[in-house]
């Protein structure tokens, strides 16, 4: 299922290519693996959804791309932005990439905006720094950006402080801040989690229209598969720091290949299905970061587990989609696996 938004001539050039990206946190002698062997491509104009539970490493993936992992982090593998290697890049190069070529939208706009600076000052700051604009030009551009993200009365909003805006408005401002320098890649870290459902729907509509108008590539991280259905072209499912399945969105929803994906979909309440007394859930807990079983990390919770799953981790293979599971027959067994 090909994206309907991306223009066809650009659709196959990857803007961002991750190969074997791994992130460890070293603290004294202990080593915590947060990301393991991430292989992903983001094509121009595409929206890639990344889903996973809390602690699966999805937010860490975004921070790692910008070189913003915390102290003690060790990043290995490769992450190339249009041919530019980001792993072990110099601080100067990363400084020129952040906000300019890759921008990150945080989850909670109230804490991601400086409470002591007006909206205008924060926008102008970025424009002046990255694009070298003069004060007046930057002011004018800041107002345009607010109009772009459909904030009403942009000129007045520029003079307001973050606490004077509503939650949805703040998230739009944060989006404007990220789009200020027309980046190639927009990373969205659960951008709608702090919003209520109606505002969330408005923001998703805005994101779709921005994608169509600016052609920006997006990585949309969330734990909400339902939300992704409306925007993502492809979806990657993360579990315990690995990507266990990656497929075009329509295919992933219709025919999940990994038992974990199947379980996640099973846990969604659907409008066309009577709501059960208790929503189904996947029993058990994801492994604590740092304590990795020898085999597949999902094996302890997997209904289709086999002896070989415990022995060694499955490699990702192509089976219509890329999936990391020994059970190539899993797709046909989902209904029995997750009753």
């Amino acid at each position: 299922m090909r994206s309907t938004h991306a223009s066809p001539e650009r659709a196959d050039t990857p803007v961002l290519v991750l190969r074997g990206l791994a992130l460890d946190y070293l603290q004294g002698d202990s080593r915590t693996q947060v990301l393991r062997g991430i292989d992903l491509e983001l094509r121009a104009g595409e929206c890639l959804g990344v889903v996973g539970e809390s602690g699966s490493g999805k937010s860490q993936l975004l921070l790692a791309l910008l070189g913003l992992s915390g102290p003690g982090a060790r990043l290995s593998g490769s992450a190339r932005l249009g041919g530019q290697e980001l792993v072990d890049a110099s601080p100067a190069l990363l400084g020129a990439v952040r906000g300019r070529r890759i921008a990150l939208v945080f989850q909670d706009a109230l804490s991601a905006l400086n409470p002591y600076l007006r909206i205008g000052a924060q926008l102008v700051e970025v424009l002046r720094h990255h694009l070298g604009m003069g004060r007046a030009a930057a002011q004018a551009r800041a107002a345009e950006l607010l109009a772009l993200v459909q904030v009403d009365e942009p000129a007045q909003r520029l003079r307001q402080y973050p606490h004077e805006l509503s939650g949805g408005m703040r998230q739009r401002v944060l989006l404007a801040l990220s789009l200020a320098c027309e980046p190639e890649v927009l990373l969205l870290d659960e951008p709608t989690t702090a919003l209520d459902v109606t505002v969330q729907a408005q923001l998703m509509a805005l994101l779709r229209s921005l994608r169509a108008s600016t052609g920006v590539s997006m990585v949309f991280v969330t734990h909400d598969l339902g939300l992704l259905a409306g925007i993502a072209d492809r979806v990657a499912v993360m579990y315990a720091g690995r990507i266990v399945e990656e497929a075009p969105a329509g295919q992933l929803y219709a025919r999940p290949l990994h038992p974990y994906t199947g379980g996640l979909l099973r846990s969604l309440p659907l409008l066309d299905r009577p709501l059960p007394a208790r929503l189904p859930s996947i029993p058990g807990q994801p492994p604590e970061p740092g304590t990795q079983p020898a085999g597949c990390a999902f094996a302890p919770r997997c209904p289709l587990v086999e002896p070989r799953c415990q022995a060694q981790p499955p490699e990702r293979h192509e089976a219509g989609a890329r999936v990391a599971c020994f059970r190539t027959d899993a797709a046909g067994l989902m209904d029995e696996a997750w009753p």
């Binding site: 910008l66 990439v97 990150l104 400086n114 002591y116 720094h129 003079r159």
Partner: protein, 283 residues
């Protein structure tokens, strides 16, 4: 369109002036300051000249605050005392703010080993018993006006260093600092635009509250005879003199003590108001 940091200060002043009690505080402080500067210039009496014909006179039109045990005009002496107390308060506070902010911000921003080392130094200095130290200093170096500044400044910066360090650490953890990093802003700009405004409020407020505490401290030192030396007077030494006479001649104590209390009250109230005014989240 003004969306700069100066706007923050202008707005803070506006918010401060909107509060009626703060306007009164500023009037009272301005009056006190004006009187302290002008009264000694305008009065025919010097602060140090004894006048043996009018010893311990009660308040009268010619000497509104009365005279002290050496016949000196108490109004002139009290105003001189205000000058000295305010000067000590301002200079020592400025000193302690400069040292404290530099020390605390450095520790908070460097973090780790340096932070531990610098903050343990503060802990050690905190543990030095202060008044015996000042007594020893006056014995060693002789009684000098500057010593009062140095002694008070050397101690009061410790609090500011701790507060600024804690605030710098806390700001570093805030998401908007990470967001600013994710937008690729360079460290210098981060420091100036994102740390300074967040620190400025607390520093200004703390400095305003340090002035009265320093004045009180100077009063304590002068009361003990370790501060300003006669015939120069501070509010503290005037209270000490007045305490000796208070049973027979209460006016010698009451006027300087009331002025000291008024000054401290106003400065504390102003500090409180500034704290509210410098937070843009206040209406």
């Amino acid at each position: 369109m003004n969306a700069t940091r100066q706007g923050l200060w202008r707005e803070a002043v506006r918010r401060l002036l909107e509060v009626r009690s703060q306007r009164w505080t500023l009037y009272v402080l301005a009056t006190l300051l004006g009187a302290a500067l002008l009264v000694p210039l305008a009065s025919p009496h010097g602060y140090a000249t004894p006048e043996w014909t009018r010893i311990l006179r009660p308040p009268s039109p010619s000497a509104p605050f009365g005279t002290d045990g050496l016949g000196r005009d108490l109004l002139v002496r009290t105003m001189w005392g205000c000058r000295v107390s305010l000067l000590v308060g301002l200079v020592a506070s400025l000193m302690s703010v400069c040292i404290g902010v530099a020390w605390g911000a450095t520790a908070g921003l460097l973090g780790g080993r340096w932070d531990a080392l610098m903050m343990r130094t503060v802990d050690v200095l905190y543990s030095v018993p202060f008044i015996p130290l000042v007594i020893v200093l006056t014995v060693v170096f002789g009684r000098h006006f500057l010593l009062v500044f140095a002694a008070i400044g050397a101690v009061s910066w410790l609090d500011i260093a701790r507060i600024v360090r804690g605030q710098a650490l806390a700001i570093g953890q805030r998401e908007y600092i990470e967001a600013a990093r994710a937008l690729g802003l360079p460290p210098g700009r981060m420091l100036w635009r994102h740390y300074v405004p967040n620190l400025a409020g607390i520093v200004v407020v703390y400095a305003t509250l340090t002035v009265p505490s320093v004045i009180l401290f100077e009063a304590l030192l002068s009361f003990l005879g370790l501060g300003v030396q006669a015939p120069l007077a501070s509010l503290g030494s005037l209270v000490a003199d007045g305490a000796a006479e208070m049973q027979a001649h209460p006016h010698v104590l009451v006027f300087p003590a009331a002025l000291l209390a008024l000054l401290i009250l106003c400065l504390n109230h102003l500090g409180d108001g500034l704290r509210d005014a410098l937070d843009p989240r206040q209406p």
